[in-house]
């Protein structure tokens, strides 16, 4: 038996750390890693609520999130490698052509 808020606080901590990573890291791969942290935080919530409410839906969707995360990493890394190949850098603050 575990009190729900404990689990949620863990999830909140992971999520905030992930946010910090996404905002503060300039290396593309590290940003992707931070995104994984945030996805994991979401998954913890899904599983925790699934068990608290006695419904399997949460766990099923946690699995879907994991699958989507795998797809996201695959595409994300492909993009990062493409950027590296074209620009010799994966610092995403140097990739700023998408502007006025």
């Amino acid at each position: 038996m575990i009190r729900l808020p404990i689990v949620l606080f863990f999830s909140a901590a992971l999520f905030s750390i992930g946010v910090y990573g996404v905002l503060a890291r300039r290396n593309g791969v590290l940003v992707l890693m931070s995104i994984e942290l945030m996805l994991n935080a979401v998954n913890i919530n899904l599983v925790a609520f699934s068990q608290a409410l006695g419904s399997l839906a949460g766990q099923v969707f946690a699995l879907f999130v994991i699958a989507v995360a795998a797809a996201e990493v695959g595409i994300g890394l492909a993009i990062v490698i493409l950027i590296y190949r074209n620009r010799e850098t994966i610092n995403i603050d140097e990739v700023n052509l998408l502007k006025w």
């Binding site: 992971l14 946010v19 913890i44 797809a71 490698i81």
Partner: protein, 166 residues
């Protein structure tokens, strides 16, 4: 406080500290290895929450596959080492935003759930139950995710292949 809770808090602390190291490490490979620790402790948390199947999938997919992908990514991009190379100039702003989100979340959580009000009783989370659920009720989303994965697979290949090799 039960034994389960102590175990969970211990895992959560390990996971949190490792996650902090992921976003602060100065060597990208170390960051990836700390990510393994975080992901494994999240997997442990799933086990404590009796979500057995999700836990194993977490270990298999995340620790087994995704981290390896990351390491390949780091290898192929010759990632540099050092704070200058890895962090940008807006660390302060990032800390503010992250703390704001943490404060907001904590506020919301304690607002919505009383400390002793809701408890998680370990329920079923084995492969059999989850599988039955996926292939009966959630078969459509399952197929959708499959297509997404296929798309991602093709997309990743198309993106990363060199044009001159066609």
């Amino acid at each position: 406080m039960t034994g389960h809770e102590y175990a969970f808090i211990l895992l959560a602390l390990i996971g949190t500290v490792a996650a902090l190291r992921v976003v602060t490490a100065r060597n990208v490979v170390h960051a990836a290895l700390y990510l393994v620790v975080t992901l494994a402790s999240v997997g442990g948390a799933y086990l404590l929450l009796a979500a057995e199947f999700v836990a194993w999938v977490q270990i298999l997919i995340y620790v087994g596959a995704i981290v390896i992908l990351f390491l390949f990514g780091l290898m192929l991009t010759k990632a540099p080492i050092g704070r200058e190379a890895l962090d940008n100039q807006r660390r302060g702003a990032a800390i503010v935003v992250a703390l704001a989100i943490l404060a907001g979340l904590i506020f919301l959580i304690q607002d919505a759930f009383s400390w002793d009000g809701s408890k998680i009783e370990p329920r079923t989370g084995g492969a059999a139950a989850v599988g039955e659920s996926i292939f009966s009720r959630y078969v459509l989303p399952f197929e959708a995710v499959s297509f997404l994965l296929l798309g991602a697979l093709i997309g990743a290949i198309v993106l990363s292949r060199r044009d001159d090799l066609t």
